[in-house]
Point group: C2
Chain length 386, copies 2
């Protein structure tokens, strides 16, 4: 590695508190961030799973007031961000707590942007366009995959234009990520599988990213090891140690991708969220083996190391052959999890592919992929995944 | 791994900016932290090496005022911390920049404590006794080893009582660590070697610590790999890529030990700094193989993994035998670096050993060692190292 003044490397993550029972710290942490009146951003599923009640109990114990905003769906929408910001102002909130998967956390970041930077959330799409510090933000993830609790990303869907918009800025990193593996136990097998595949995609894309470096690499590799060790067991048997392993996998993959950024899988997955409202983890899972097969020749040594992390035999195996085991291992895991393998199974139409490819080619995440694909090449990848 | 509410794991590091030429960002970073008048804490050696002039030029470019405090020595003293705090108040400073090795950085943290918490620095010795936030702190390390730029530690010598006092608190973590490998090029071969051995000690102690976890382990292991790859070359040939490797080793070892804490080597090294004013890295280097031989039986699997990271052949080797290669590898590296191997070579007297052992037994770092040694056992280790 040789850095220069023009290629300085950066690394930043929130304060992390991790462990079974960590949710009990949510009130104290919100208080420590200066909170008097919390905006709790969550979704109806979390409400039903009683985690909202639990969080509120811990707010009560600290004498904190709170307003609950749970109008959040998968692939969250611009208007939800606006409504959340209205509630924040109306109730004089001072700290935001996100309790949920990627959607509530991304909405919480969007709300945080609007309450101090004003304007429309669309104004902040792109890199580093946020000028004012956001209010204190505490994230409590309830899925293992998104990594939004430690990342500099927020992805919001513009339903009018049917596009998913990526906001990337150090300014939207949470102050604290409070990770409690027990919260994972109330999710469905399919959601555990899909979000776990999201974590795997983050780790692989961060590891082969053009911005990866020694501070992100060990986390990416370890996350890959953990997914192959724990994901199937977590999804099938809801074993708490497997959930703890997946919580760490999600965390480490999040640390890696927030600092090394992502790649072509995410570039191709985002339009599927915008146009079909497809679950992000599922979109990644279907696209991952296809994109890896294209990417392999652009970073064969790295894919050989990924193969090793996945448990493939790589000693004495030529680099190219070692790398070729990666998509096979991924396909094996997807089959074991019982997830769909083709885009056609989840409603994607061949006629939409030119539009999907156009959006994917312009996606921010394409810039750090080991190779920058043009629209024609992207169309071919969508067709392979169809 | 199984966590509980009573054993939550924590992880926190500063924002990191890394690369050759990173010093050029020091003015902008100080400005971003809200600085108008900087207290620059450094030492005469850094002054002579022109890095102070360079930093001042970058302050000037940003229109920042500054006061230079360079009354800092190895194993820095309580009165130096007090003088720095007086200068901070006298000149109405608002941001502290530490430019140097462990000593200027530890003094800067001490100054930061006093200017907002008042009293004497001795009042804050121990764990989490700092109640008021410190002023913004930016660290620019000029050695590769200390890790103080990313750690929650400050170690200050009380010259009256001849003890080194350990202050451990999340409150004294820097806001930004700005790491420029070019700054390492003006150090002597011996200092590069000794500080590099400090990094190795941090990595090993963090990896076997009772508080180590998956977020600290990969950094500890990678730091060990990097030290064995780069340290000898950095010391002998002052190769810039080797310095870059050592800068990352120091950073990753720092991230690991700040969050997993240390062990018996540091517990035994601190009294040698307090009583003999021995360089901390050198003290660690001499003690490391002796303590490792005692520690091995308490964490054989971990030491086997350390052996592997050091480049020893461990495949098919029984765990105990693999672990036994660790002290041999360390001794080989110390010999290659031309550092002294015995405490008697650096002036330690056998008659002082009971006093040294008494202090070591009470040292904070002993608490996270894989085994807690009593004074008699510690005396025996000092004698083995004599």
């Amino acid at each position: 590695m040789t850095t220069t003044q023009d290629s300085l490397l950066k690394f930043e993550i929130p304060e992390i508190i991790f462990g079974q029972g960590a949710l009990s710290q949510v009130g104290q942490c919100a208080r420590r961030l200066g909170g008097e009146h919390i905006l709790l951003v969550t979704d109806p599923g979390i409400q039903k799973a009683v985690w909202v009640d639990a969080a509120i109990r811990y707010f009560d114990e600290e004498g904190l007031r709170y307003s609950v905003f749970d109008d959040v769906v998968t692939n969250p929408r611009t208007f939800q961000v606006e409504h959340g910001a209205q509630l924040y102002h109306q109730d004089n909130c001072d700290v935001i707590v996100a309790l949920g998967g990627g959607s509530p956390m991304d909405v919480a970041k969007g709300v945080a942007i609007l309450v101090t930077n004003h304007g429309r959330i669309q104004d902040y799409v792109g890199c580093n366009l946020i000028t004012q510090p956001i209010p204190p933000l505490l994230c409590v993830p309830t899925t293992a995959g998104t990594g939004s609790d430690v990342s500099q990303f927020s992805v919001i869907a513009d339903t009018q234009r049917k596009v998913k918009m990526t906001i990337l800025s150090r300014a939207i990193m949470a102050d604290i990520s409070l990770i409690d593996p027990v919260l994972l136990t109330t999710k469905s097998e399919e959601l555990i599988a899909a979000t776990g595949m999201d974590a795997l995609t983050h780790a692989i894309e961060a590891y082969v990213s053009s911005l990866s470096w020694p501070l992100t690499d060990p986390h990416a590799i370890h996350a890959i090891q953990l997914v192959f060790k724990h994901l199937e067991k977590a999804a099938r048997s809801k074993d708490i140690d497997a959930f703890e392993g997946m919580a760490i996998a999600s965390l480490e993959a999040g640390i890696a991708f927030s600092n090394a950024i992502l790649g072509a899988v995410h570039a191709l997955a985002h339009p599927l969220g915008g146009i079909y409202d497809l679950h992000h983890g599922l979109a990644n899972a279907i696209l991952l083996p296809v994109v890896v097969r294209e990417n392999m020749e652009h970073a064969p040594e790295k894919f050989a190391k990924i193969a090793n992390a996945m448990g493939a035999e790589t000693r004495g195996v030529p680099t190219k052959e070692a790398a070729e085991q990666v998509p096979e291992k991924i396909e094996g895991l997807i089959s074991a999890l019982g997830l769909p393998r083709r885009l056609s199974q989840v409603g994607v139409q061949e006629t939409d592919i030119p539009l999907l490819a156009k959006q994917a080619a312009e996606d921010l995440c394409m810039q750090t992929n080991p190779h920058c694909y043009i629209a024609e090449e992207i169309e071919s990848m969508y067709i392979q995944a169809l």
